[in-house]
Amino acid sequence: MKHYKVVAAGDVEEAMSNPACVTEDPRYNLAGTHAILSFRVPVDGCINHEQALELVQGPDWQTEDEEP
């Protein structure tokens, strides 16, 4: 089971230096301001998988493209 945390873009590198971080190449929100990272163990401010899945289905993270 992975634990997830939303991190400001400027803090991603530091967060990924945590040895418990699973993420290798982060997924950012559409604005590029935040990334979601995963960890093998709980970390401060983390959310569970269900919460993370719901988050990334929101309009800040998910896209539906216009028909050309």
Binding site: T23, P26, R27, I36, S38, V56, E67, P68
Partner: protein, 272 residues
Amino acid sequence: MSMHGVTKASAAALSPASRFRTKAYKLDGVEDRVQMDAVAASGVLDWDGVKKWSVSIWFKDAGVNQSSLWSMTNGINNYRWIEMYTNYSGATGQVAFRGYADTTHALLTSGSTLIVSSTAPNGILPNDSNWHNVTLAVDSASGLVGGLDIYLDGALAATGNNSTRQNVGLDTLKVGVLFKNPAGAPPGYTNNSPMTVSQFSVYDDKLSSAQVASVWANGNSVDERGLTPAPVHFYRFGNDGAAFPDVVDIGTGSATGRAENMSGLEVVAEQP
């Protein structure tokens, strides 16, 4: 038998491979994906007016809107990408293709998107908890009527007509995510799928109905190396002795992939 004829391998021929086809990847739908860029680099899958190709994927869908089965893109910010995905409208499920030559032009005459609803003939409900196979078969000839076929569980479900646009130089292939890589921003991963995905294969020809039926094999994934034609690139995620997260190509193409942002706990003992 003709060059494009179908020969289903005998049970004896399949048995060595079937012994280790026991696993799959359970993607989290948040950040997981399988990076298959070496397949894109092999050049088999360009939409260049000449090439013919097919892509087959076996998966169990979780029922989340806009879930990408696989996508390819050109790394330059020119909005040049193709995708197969699942989607839902109430209780109706969809399997669909999207293809863009650029921001204002589609690869099909009908537009960028070709959708097969679960209520259509040969449609499927992707999240019915069963394993499904989606095969996209393409002849990229400019303006070709019937250049694109979508097969669902081995049956032809939709046909599209090519526009005169092309989509050359696709240099990434990702399973389980839509990747668009807009310039000036972090890599554009979105629409991650929380699917379980088992088997993925790439052919350098547009498969016929009979050939796709052999890939489907009545819902039992087979060692496609025993089919004619055999896949150029062939993967059984979580199997084949690869050191996770490497994904070994057991086709003829030697294009190694990689499970990205995944832990070994996301390798599950499931198979179609």
